[in-house]
Symmetry: C2
Subunit: 144 residues, 2 copies
Amino acid sequence: MTDRPTTDRNAVLAANRAFYQAFTGRDFPAMDRLWASRLPVSCIHPGWTILFGREAVVSSWQDVLRSPRGPAVQARNERVSLYGDTAVVLCEEIVGDAVLVATNLFAREDGEWRLAHHQAGPVAEPASQILTPPDRLPPGGLLH
Amino acid sequence: MTDRPTTDRNAVLAANRAFYQAFTGRDFPAMDRLWASRLPVSCIHPGWTILFGREAVVSSWQDVLRSPRGPAVQARNERVSLYGDTAVVLCEEIVGDAVLVATNLFAREDGEWRLAHHQAGPVAEPASQILTPPDRLPPGGLLH
């Protein structure tokens, strides 16, 4: 007997792991394969503006993976939300001493879960110090 | 004759506008109604860690909308990507002098497009100066 949500959850988590493996391993062909071919594709790298379309997104990853300063990136606390044929993985990205948070949207294309959108952004404070967001803007200076 | 993608696109854009109207109008009941009831719900406010679950997310919005320092937020350059019963709106958020970029995930629930996930993060440089992201991390100091 198959349990569809569990199967999907595991497949999405595996795709998310493959994304971070390609990232840290600077494996551009693997990264290229992970992104959807026909569905809409977009990406927001931390601090950067929105990239639309497979060509712009994949080309940005080529630059990121080529960068000599590119750090290793480790994902932790992955959590999957399933919405039928799409799924979101939210996770923390450990990049050197910094923690980022990421939204990874996967969509089913030809029966496979492929990346459709990625946004990562900085966390301003250690999670343990965060109780409630008192304001829309992050703590002083982050935007300037 | 109905054009399903056009209808969906307009409905999603209307839901996205309603989100920013509730935000700027500090209309908590409207904000509350926009978020999905049964589907998974999550949110990443700029600089903050990941919030999971309707209660945590909606309660964070109550705090944001209550804040006396809460600025007006205007969305521009909205772009919709449709994935069947889910849709992503990517847009820029103008918050005072700052520009943020946002991922707004909508999912169809009881025939209505409702918010399922939101992530907003700062843009470090004016878009016109951005050619390619040379590194994973935003320009100096943003994370510290």
